[in-house]
């Protein structure tokens, strides 16, 4: 016969004692596992919610950027870089710049590390008389956007006007019912209509866009430009225009920078504000999730130690009762030769078994309680580590609680027990 058989037989004989001890351990383990499972579920749920919100905000941001793009595209370029000697008052009065600057300015700007503007477009523009139609128009030459060296290529706001082609504003094509493909002549130069813009209600309606070189030729402004148009980035800064001016001044000292389209920018800023509000809501949701988890952790910090201490006390009580109950039996076993070591093994072996069974039952119960009281999550809440912890810590707890009663039982004098009986 082995000690293990003695342990199993004793458990079978005093099964209620075993069940009560296992229940104590199970409750402690179940409290721990349920708390951990609920915290895990809360964290996963919170992460999923935040991820969902993040996606919503991201989608909204994407939509916002798209709308911004449409707005700014509709508006056209809202940053104008003008020559140093440009009279801003005259520029506003005439609706077009009159001074020029070297064409390579745009190359310097494009090759710089500037990030506060993009979509660089050099133009020559001048208010001229369309002699064939006897109309005053704005003739603008553009070579298309200049790619910025340090940036990924962007879809241009304004397409390149090929040589021999012209893009017409509303007031220039509508009265004569001109369409893409129509032929016309501007101040002696034969051109084909490439595109007709819808009415914008701005100076664009009386503008004809031609290829930059052709415009320079028509206006006698070879290798010169009047302005560099750009689109300011939708960056959150305290004073955006001042920052843009500062950045451009570093590359093109002496040039002047104007911002156009305040109304649209205000709208964009409102949308930026809306994005900030969404971000704040997201942060709030994250904070709310964190608070719920912290609250659950705080509850667990109280509940779990209480359950463990209660379980410990309960097992001590049961072990003391068990040791008292087995006093006579231990006395005779000691008399016939079992050492105190054997008696310790008898009690601690039982305690370990109680812990192992209690740990297993407690884990299953705790997991079921934890998942049952949590909002369903897609991921599995099963954690092998916690199962192992339960199966290791519960026997350790049980053995620790039984240690003193086992020592007392092992140390009892068989002669005293035999004399008592």
């Amino acid at each position: 016969m082995k000690i293990s058989r003695l342990i199993v037989q004793e458990i079978a004989h005093r099964f209620l004692n075993f069940v009560l001890a296992v229940t104590g351990v199970s409750i402690a383990v179940a409290c721990l596992v349920a708390s951990v499972t609920m915290i895990d579920a809360g964290e996963i749920q919170s992460e999923q919610l935040v991820a969902q919100r993040q996606q919503e905000v991201k989608d909204a941001g994407k939509k916002l950027n798209d709308e911004m793009r449409k707005i700014t595209k509709g508006l056209g370029f809202n940053i104008v870089v003008l020559a140093e000697d440009e009279d801003i008052a005259a520029f506003h009065a005439q609706g077009a710049p009159t001074r020029t600057m070297p064409q390579d300015y745009v190359t310097r700007l494009a090759n710089s590390e500037i990030v506060v503007i993009n979509h660089l477009l050099p133009i020559v523009t001048r208010k001229v008389e369309w002699t064939e139609k006897k109309k005053t128009i704005v003739l603008t030459g553009t070579r298309g956007e200049v790619p910025q060296a340090h940036r990924d290529p962007k879809k241009p706001l304004l397409d390149l006007v090929p040589k021999g082609k012209v893009v017409l504003g509303y007031q220039l094509h509508h009265p004569d019912k001109l369409k893409p493909g129509s032929k016309l002549t501007i101040n002696g130069r034969a051109l084909e209509v490439a595109k007709c813009h819808a009415e914008r209600g701005t100076v664009d309606d009386v503008t004809a866009w031609v290829n930059l070189e052709e415009a320079q030729d028509m206006l006698g402004m070879q290798n010169l430009v009047n302005a560099i148009l750009a689109l300011e980035c939708n960056c959150a800064t305290i004073d955006r225009v001042a920052e843009i001016r500062g950045e451009i001044a570093k590359v093109l000292p002496g040039t002047q920078v104007l911002e156009r389209g305040r109304k649209a920018l205000a709208r964009a800023e409102a949308r930026n504000k809306a994005k900030k509000t969404a971000d704040a809501a997201l942060e709030s949701a994250e904070e709310s999730g964190r608070q719920i988890i912290e609250s659950r952790k705080a509850q667990a910090n109280v509940l779990v130690p209480l359950a463990v201490i209660g379980s410990f006390a309960w097992i001590v009580l049961l072990a003391v009762g068990n040791a008292r109950q087995r006093r006579g039996e231990i006395g005779i076993l000691r008399a016939i030769g079992l050492g105190s070591r054997h008696v310790l093994v008898l009690f601690l072996g039982k305690a370990l078994l109680v812990g192992l069974v209690g740990g297993g039952i407690g884990y299953v119960a705790g997991y079921m309680i934890g998942t049952g009281y949590s909002e369903p999550v897609q991921e599995s809440l099963f954690d092998l580590n916690w199962l192992l912890i339960a199966l290791l810590m519960a026997p350790a707890l049980s053995a620790a609680a039984s240690w003193l009663p086992a020592l007392v039982a092992a140390g009892q004098d068989p002669a005293v027990v035999l004399q008592e009986q």
Binding site: L6, E10, I332, S340, H342, L418
Partner: protein, 222 residues
């Protein structure tokens, strides 16, 4: 000498007064001897038996069992010494209530781990007529059967000495006879039996009788 008790003294310390249980008792039991210690209740018989069994250290005197002083051994060594050299039989049987007959008989083998113990246990169970009760627990046995189980347990490790404390106290005549015959047979086969009793019928089986009175030997007769 298998059992040698020389000038044994044992006093129980109490709150009010000290009780001298055994006072300068010397007693030897040789191999093949069956000695009965008799005397009224409280005369120190059981104390003397516990001292002889290595269970209760004397305040004075010398104890040797099979030429070894059990009290010179550590607690764990003394426990193993008891398991290997001494068989105990008690009036109350002291069986483990949740073990069946076989497991109770096999209990001393927990210490020795002797692989032949099972065979001896089966043999003892058959010898004591418990073959059909092998799976029964003490609560399912008669008093006579319980004492036979206790006897089989005492004999399992083939001890040199059997110490019996009123082994027939709870038994009827027939079962008493069987127990005493077993003890007698054990002595005849070279063992030493020290029986504590106040049963006159039991004394008749002993080869020698020692009478105790107030912790002292009053009479020692063949």
């Amino acid at each position: 000498m298998l059992i040698s008790l020389q000038n044994i003294k044992k006093t129980y310390t109490g709150d009010a007064e000290n009780v001298i249980a055994v006072d300068d008792v010397s007693l030897s039991v040789d191999a093949g001897e069956f000695v009965a210690v008799v005397g009224p209740s409280g005369c120190g018989k059981t104390t003397l038996l516990l001292v002889a069994g290595g269970l209760l250290g004397p305040d004075g005197g010398e104890v040797t069992i099979d030429d070894i002083d059990p009290y010179s051994l550590s607690t764990e060594q003394r426990a193993r010494f008891r398991a290997e050299r001494i068989g105990f039989v008690f009036q109350q049987f002291h069986l483990v209530p949740y073990l069946n007959v076989l497991d109770n008989v096999m209990a001393p083998a927990l210490v020795t781990g002797d692989p032949a113990a099972r065979e001896r246990a089966d043999s003892l169970i058959e010898r004591f007529g418990l073959g059909k009760r092998v799976g029964h627990r003490p609560g399912q046995l008669s008093t006579g059967e319980r004492q036979r189980v206790a006897l089989a347990r005492a004999l399992l490790n083939e001890p040199r000495v059997i110490l019996a404390d009123e082994p027939t106290g709870n038994l009827d005549g027939e079962n008493s006879q069987e127990v005493l015959q077993t003890l007698q047979s054990f002595a005849q086969q070279g063992g030493a039996v020290l029986l504590v009793t106040h049963d006159p019928d039991a004394v008749a089986f002993a080869g020698r009788q020692v009478a105790l009175s107030s912790g002292r030997i009053a009479e020692n007769q063949e």
